[in-house]
């Protein structure tokens, strides 16, 4: 099932000429209300008020965010929550400065008041800018986009979800030592209606599902945890079957036992074979964030920091080994950041950030494209909800698979002295994205082309450029998998952005491996 455009929908359903007024049946049925007079009046109130106030540009987003979380602990439920936020955010550009205001009351009179407030804010701040904000041009799209899905996860009864999670939790606790287990399912819907003074009118409905579980084993004053390697996805309920959510539980339980008994790693420089379920987060931190243009120019200096990948290095810096290409893509099927249009109303696409090892691209919004002389935005504006200001957020950023059909098996066979790392553990990177440290879930020693034993307390520490230039083997497309961050944080006020990163298993040569267990009193 592919996304359907609004024009196609109207034509095929015969609704184009019909005067259809959807009943306002409550927020749960809000999807598809683009034709509702109330919402059209809200849009009109925002845009006409902004125009009348002298704004050079304005946009309005009616936004509904629904989230259901179901969780279990050991043998019982640990909470079922259902939350919903609905409202309108209005952004205006006046006298060259932004003003933003939002409300949870979705009616025309309130939105007129809010728009006037946004205008007043822009006016108050205009003198605090040296130069006016300019937006790169974009087409005025009128369209509908939605997550392709077979089964809406919100329609699956909570009782069924709990039963599924309790079954997994039971499997995880089949241990001979003390065991604690947790399992959860998070389901999120983001519905939004965007319009601007340039004529855009875009409705989007994005469904995301985040399954997870872990088990902790306790023995003799020591404890280890093993979390499932599966990842959140933009998808319907059918994703759970594809992801082996249930089937993997027994293996995760066994892995935990193996981890508890495993010897600690000896620190030193080793070859690393990273599974997609580990490497995605390293891509996120060492490629995704450094290539955000606002960060590179200093807009995040007060919070998340800046970036070593400054514009003077564009098309010059050898970011990675020559066979490495890393691309941004807001159209990746299943990617959490995938959508039809960004929150500037720009149609989404794919482009390279690192091409054959060379740093070639940034993530931009309409405001930012001109900063580096690009004619158009890359479509990276995003706001987490109606009450948040859209700004540059990360698209899905992925590693292009190699040309050879290598899998993890071949990578292990080609490795003389290495460590194979699965899953995500701890992560941290500096505020210019040089020095990073990651751990994982499971670690295996590789000697002379074979996995010899499990290890524990493994971390790897490197520098972004050293790491990516040490990449020498990239798996093929057949083992390309997505990993995901449901809540990637950035900005002030902090906002969360869902984003995915794809890659196959990949090898990096002679990376510093550390033992993460602090010696007592050390």
């Amino acid at each position: 099932m592919s996304p359907v455009s609004r024009r196609q929908f109207l034509t095929s359903s015969g609704l184009a000429a019909a005067s259809v007024i959807a009943s306002r049946a409550g927020l749960s049925d809000a999807r598809g209300l683009v034709l509702e007079p109330l919402l059209l009046a809200v849009i009109d109130a925002a845009l006409s008020t902004a125009r009348a106030s002298g704004a050079s540009y304005a946009d309005v987003r009616v936004h509904r965010r629904r989230e259901e979380n179901v969780s279990v602990r050991d043998d019982h439920p640990a909470g079922t929550t259902d939350s919903e936020r609905y409202g309108v955010g209005v952004r205006v550009l006046k006298d060259g400065a932004w003003g933003f205001a939002a409300t949870a009351r979705v009616d025309a009179l309130e939105v007129k008041r809010v728009t006037q407030k946004a205008v007043a804010i822009a006016t108050a701040n205009a003198s605090l800018r040296d130069r006016p904000i300019e937006l790169a041009p974009t087409a005025a799209h009128v369209d509908v986009w939605q997550t392709p899905l077979a089964k809406d996860p919100f329609k699956i009864p909570v009782a069924d979800k709990l039963e599924l999670l309790l079954g997994i939790s039971h499997t995880l606790r089949q241990q001979k030592v003390t065991a604690f287990s947790e399992a959860s399912l998070s389901t999120r819907l983001e519905w939004k209606l965007f319009a601007n003074t340039e004529g855009a009118l875009i409705e989007q409905a994005i469904t995301r599902i985040g399954p997870s579980y872990s088990v902790t084993l306790v023995r003799d004053g020591d404890f280890v945890s093993r979390g499932w390697d599966g990842q959140a996805r933009q998808a319907g309920w059918e994703y759970l079957a594809e992801s082996r959510f249930v089937e993997d539980a027994a293996q995760v339980a066994e892995d935990a036992r193996e981890k508890l008994a495993a010897p600690p790693v000896e620190p030193g420089r080793r070859d690393l074979i990273l599974s997609p379920e580990n490497l995605w987060l390293t891509i996120h931190e060492s490629v995704g964030h450094p290539t955000e243009l606002d960060r590179a120019l200093g807009d995040e200096a007060n919070f998340a920091g800046t970036s070593f990948a400054t514009p003077d290095k564009l098309k010059k810096l050898q970011y990675a080994a020559p066979h490495v290409t890393l691309f941004a893509d807001k159209t990746t099927p299943g990617g959490l950041a995938t959508c039809g249009y960004d929150d500037d109303g720009v149609r989404t696409g794919r482009w390279n950030l690192v091409e054959q090892g060379r740093f070639v691209g940034y993530q931009t919004t309409r405001e930012q494209a001109g900063w580096i002389g690009e004619p158009q935005s890359r479509g990276c504006a995003y706001a987490q909800d109606h009450a948040s200001v859209p700004f540059q957020r990360m698209p899905n950023v992925s590693l292009q698979p190699g040309h050879e059909p290598l899998g993890v098996k071949q990578l292990i066979e080609a490795t003389d002295d290495g460590v194979y790392v699965l899953g995500n553990g701890s992560w941290s990177i500096d505020h210019q994205r040089y020095n990073f440290q990651f751990t994982g879930q499971m670690f295996y020693e590789v000697k002379k082309g074979k996995v010899t034993r499990a290890l524990r307390d493994v971390g790897y520490q490197s520098n972004t450029l050293e790491f990516w230039n040490a990449c020498d083997l990239i798996g093929g497309a057949q083992e390309f998998r997505l990993g995901s961050a449901f809540d990637d944080g950035k900005g002030e006020p902090a906002q969360s952005n869902p984003v995915s990163h794809g890659c196959p298993p990949t090898r990096f040569r002679k990376i510093s491996v550390i033992n993460t267990r602090a010696k007592k009193g050390a």
């Binding site: 909470g79 933003f100 020591d222 404890f223 602090a518």
Partner: protein
């Protein structure tokens, strides 16, 4: 527009009435916040984004025996309240029994904390915020440094009610100004910050000047090798380590054997002297340094709570369920804490340090090893070499891998002066500690 106190109380009563009608035997908890939040963000010496938001947050929990569900919404009109109650009741009916479910709380001792709300913060409008940011931009502009920062203002009402008679509404405000300055060379960075609940005490120009001065002092850092060093952590850095330690203080995890605070399975290290005798940590919502709401998320009244006294563990956070199961008093629900001041003036913390490192801030911390409380993170915004009791110049930043328990065990001096961090919910002094592992160099400035 944010709800008035009367409107907020009425909305909570409507929820209880709707729930009583829908499920007469149910226990019901209601939480409702109504707020106005505003911000101005700036970078490269100019404003980037600015906004103001009116928002509500309504949470309803319905318990049917041991079946329960919780729903939330930002809509407070009658129809939305009815729909929210219906949805929550339906979810509760479908939920399996939760053996850890506790009854909702009834009436709690009434207490007001006048320090938690300041009408002057509530009254800041777009022009007033712009004026503060103008003051914050001035030092960087005049000194030729690039500044970035964030002004944030919050004011609102927080309400809790239950079918057992709980009924509390309290106003609160919050104000934050943070500024980061960077030198044109790109080799110096500094930060100034203000966190408070009141407008009094905010000097926007002074915050920015602190950032600019640190940026200039930290310019052109020399190379220093990784290793174990005596370090002096400024209050902002101490706060992050103390917050990490505090976040790990959970009674249940300790009793279950999966915590640094475990003493085998089924026992914890409460009452043990684990840390330096200089370390005293406590929460007190009525403290003028950390004024907070006098009740927690469940509506439970909060009073002073000692966590660590002179290095001895007084208590670990204990949920109501775990307290009942283990025959203890519930402990916790606090939003922040104070690390007690020491006896050493801040300027004297460096005395006696033959060779060490002064750390202004730490960043991107994350747990690496639970059993040892090993934390990783990085220094930023001003890292300096100390030799023979004096700062001799800036050095590169570092990644650290350090057990926070060991850092607080080896602490041998805390400053008299303290500063607020983390939305004014944490107050900490500067700290001197030893054998702190600066594991690798970070090139970041």
């Amino acid at each position: 527009m944010p709800l008035s106190e009367k409107q907020l109380r009425q909305a909570m009563q409507k929820v209880l009435a709707a729930a009583a009608k829908r499920a007469p035997k149910a226990e019901v908890f209601v939480g409702l916040e109504s707020s106005r939040r505003a911000h101005v963000r700036f970078s490269r010496n100019g404003v980037t984004t600015s906004g103001e938001i009116d928002e509500a947050g309504l949470t309803v929990s319905i318990q049917l025996g041991r079946q329960a569900a919780t729903s939330s919404s930002n809509q407070t009109d009658d129809a939305s309240i009815a729909a929210l109650v219906e949805r929550t009741a339906r979810l509760a009916q479908l939920a399996p029994e939760d053996p850890e479910l506790m009854p909702v709380l009834g009436a709690q001792p009434v207490a007001r904390n006048p320090l938690a709300f300041d009408p002057k913060v509530d009254g800041l409008d777009a022009k007033a915020r712009a004026a503060l940011v103008h003051q914050a931009l001035a030092p960087g502009r005049s000194l030729g440094l690039s500044t970035a920062g964030f002004l944030f203002q919050w004011s609102g009402l927080v309400g809790k009610a239950s079918s057992r008679g709980l009924s509390r509404v309290h106003p609160a405000t919050g104000l934050q100004l943070t500024v980061t300055a960077r030198t044109p060379s790109g080799t110096g960075s500094g930060r100034g910050q203000f966190y408070g609940r009141r407008l009094q005490g905010l000097d926007a120009a002074a915050v920015a000047t602190t950032a600019c001065e640190t940026a200039r002092r930290s310019e052109n850092p020399r190379r220093l090798k990784p290793g174990r060093y005596t370090v002096v952590l400024e209050p902002a850095a101490t706060a992050v380590l103390a917050e990490s330690l505090w976040s790990a203080m959970d009674q249940r995890a300790a009793d279950e054997g999966r915590s640094f605070f475990s003493r085998g399975e089924g026992q914890s290290r409460v009452d043990e002297s684990l840390l330096s005798p200089l370390v005293t940590l406590r929460s007190d919502p009525t403290s003028p340094r950390t004024p907070m709401l006098p009740f927690d998320a469940e509506g439970r009244a909060l009073g002073p709570q000692p966590w660590i006294t002179a290095g001895r563990i007084d208590a670990l956070s204990t949920s109501r369920f775990w307290a009942e199961k283990t025959h203890r008093q519930p402990v916790g629900g606090h939003g922040g804490f104070e690390l007690a001041a020491g006896a050493t003036p801040r300027a004297k913390l460096l005395e006696g340090v033959r060779r060490g490192v002064l750390i202004s801030r730490v960043w991107y911390t994350n747990w690496v090893d639970g059993p040892t409380l090993l934390l990783t993170g990085l220094t930023r915004d001003g890292t300096f070499l100390i030799e023979d009791g004096q700062v001799v110049g800036p050095v590169n930043n570092f990644r650290f891998n350090q057990s926070v328990a060991d850092a607080f065990t080896r602490c041998d001096a805390l400053s008299v002066e303290r500063e607020a961090a983390n939305d004014a919910e944490t107050v900490t002094p500067a700290m001197r500690t030893h054998e702190f592992l600066l594991a690798s160099v970070s090139e970041a400035i």
